[in-house]
Amino acid sequence: MFEKALKGNNYYWMWLAFLGFFIAVAVVAYLRQYFVGLTITGMSRDVSWGLYISQFTFLVGVAAGGVMLVLPYYIHNFKAFGRITILGEFLAISALIMCLMFIMADLGQPLRGLNVVLFPSPGSMLFWDMIVLWGYLILNILCGWVVLTSERNQIAPPKWIYFFIYLSIPFAFSIHTVTAMLYCGLPGRHFWLTAITVPRFLASAFAAGPALIVIMALILKRVANFDAGKEAIDKIVTIIIYAAIANVFFLAMEFFVGFYSNIPGHMHTIEYLFFGLEHHGNVYNNLVPFMWAFIALFFVGLALLSNPGTRRGNDLWLGLGCASIFTAFWLDKGLGFVLGGFVPSPLEEITEYYPTLNEIFITIGIWATGFFILTILYKIAIGVEHEVEA
Amino acid sequence: MYDSGKIIPGLLIFVLFVTIPIWYNRGTAQAVPEIVLPKDVESCVLPLAAIRSDHMKLLMTWRDDVLRDGDRSTFEIEGKQYQKSLTLTCLQCHANKEQFCDPCHTYVAVRQPNCWDCHFAPVE
């Protein structure tokens, strides 16, 4: 089926070349990092994880978000999702590949990556994260490919594949659960050390992932003559609204626990993220604008998606609503959650993190690689759809 | 065959490409290097053939014994006690890394095993 990715109009090739440019820049930037070391990133002794791990964390959520299509379609037999479950599965594949690339970019000794397999350590959540991420990646490749092949041959998918499809559902939940456990099991990092990290991760994933799928569906409608169907889009939007509200509700609960209990450790990071943290006469607040942008975009997105006029009347408003939610939760989880958790340091000192240009190029390049893969996978999927219809 | 005009040159280019190491290194074969053995010691920690083929594995075993298991027990050769240590045992006899280690490592193109990133050869 790969041949479908090799035929496309000029816009298709221009888009791939555009992404290819950023990938090439990132390759050069990564080689530089590989030979010089992580000193050319903004990461420090105090903020020891930066953009790479925060993007990884966010993208695990995007990958898990695809299950919001798979679950209703296969378990509740919600037929309207039939045409677009494949979009969710293929989005998961490219998001997971981005995740694995971000992990590799973050390692100090990337050539030793296999040590995680050679010396399995079941006490480490990173070990389990590797297992569920690879598991979910393989399941999505398998299920996506088999279902698409059957569709092309206009036969029902083989019975055995349903085992793997159903298996992929708990896996989707587990990838984000285990990713949250990387954080919420660490003593002494108060912002992360809360059981609500796990449900909060899932909620934001089930909003951000489907929001990206809606955006993709709207783009495909314009550029590839592929209509996901009004009913399907409408149902996804409902899912996004509830999941998004749940995420912000959980965050509000964090505010309550921190400020009502008045325990300094519980308040510090929230203060740093939203108001700026005063320490020895300096105010540290480099993430404050991003966090208020998150809150503002959340309400903008919620308004656009909830109001029937903008939600159903006009694709542009609908797309903007989804983009607002996606960006909002990227700011929340893809920046604030990981970077904020390191402030203050265990020695009550404050180091702020500013990514370097080299680091930003690598980050953009990995996103571009993900979208490159996604474009090719969607091209194949839609090529098959058109072939069947014709 | 369809497209034989494209397939055959393509295959040729592919074969040439994967055999680059052979073309690139042709005519540079060298004689097996002679290495200088320590004069006043008769035997090594393993027989000659074994130490030649397995010295890297032995070093790894010592490393894991000492570092991971805290087993710093010594062993005896010709009445003398030796520690499980690259620096304190191997390099005591083979004091000159440039004359002893490097010639063979260069010959087999394992130029700098990363031992030397952190461990030091004695300075002459």
């Binding site: 990133t41 020695l347 180091t351 | 570092l67 990363n114």
Partner: protein, 275 residues
Amino acid sequence: MDIKRRNFLKVAGITTLAGLGGTAVVGRLVASSGLAQAAGGQGAAQAGQANLNGNQTNPGVKRYGMIINLKSFRDDPTLGEKIVEACHSYNNVPDVPNPKDEIKWIWMTRYENAFHENYHLYRDEATEKQELPVLCNHCDKPPCVRVCPTKATFRNRDGVVVMDYHRCIGCRFCMAACPYGMRSFNYIEPAPYISNLNQNKPRRMRGVVEKCNFCVGRIEVGQLPACVEACGESKALVFGDLNDPDSEIRKLLRENHTILRNPSLGTLPSVFYIV
């Protein structure tokens, strides 16, 4: 109807399978992380918080620890610099100028930084000015060891938390996990920043995490850690086996009121402070 029931049965079956698998996984996790013996660990057996690092011993198994007497550091203000220098030059710890890439094994910090949990508005002048050494606590329940995905950092048979630099992949999970901020990462190639190279000890390569190891190579051959030796007769630092009731360190622990950094986290540090 039929189809729905079949789907339900499939889902139920799979859920059960996942459930069984999950239980097995949890069982293994509990066993491997030592939750089953939560009160104990390799060191002194403990009955909850009341007996934190208590009196019982575990014969035959060592658990090295250290007492830091802050009075000695008040009496001799140069002592701090001496121990840091002794450690860093013995262990080839690089002196990286950029604080972002800094490597530290032991260093002097203020009371408010090391003991921020015990810090209040009306502190005495001595405490206010106090500079005290911090180093790896060699916890009995080290979170850094728990999270390491390759067992590159582990608790050795003498209760010392050590690093296997050969195995470390540089993921820095241990740095996020350490609640004391005692770990450093070699962001930059360390070699150029080591001024007086100690040829008998290795240095580190770029891309691995490092920290104090109680000079494990010295204590295994019966010597004291470099920092303890640098204190000479002052007894500012006392090193010994916490599992040996007759050791000097245990004697001092019996005779003095000692405090720990962040005891509420349950990591059971092996480094004690006499204020």
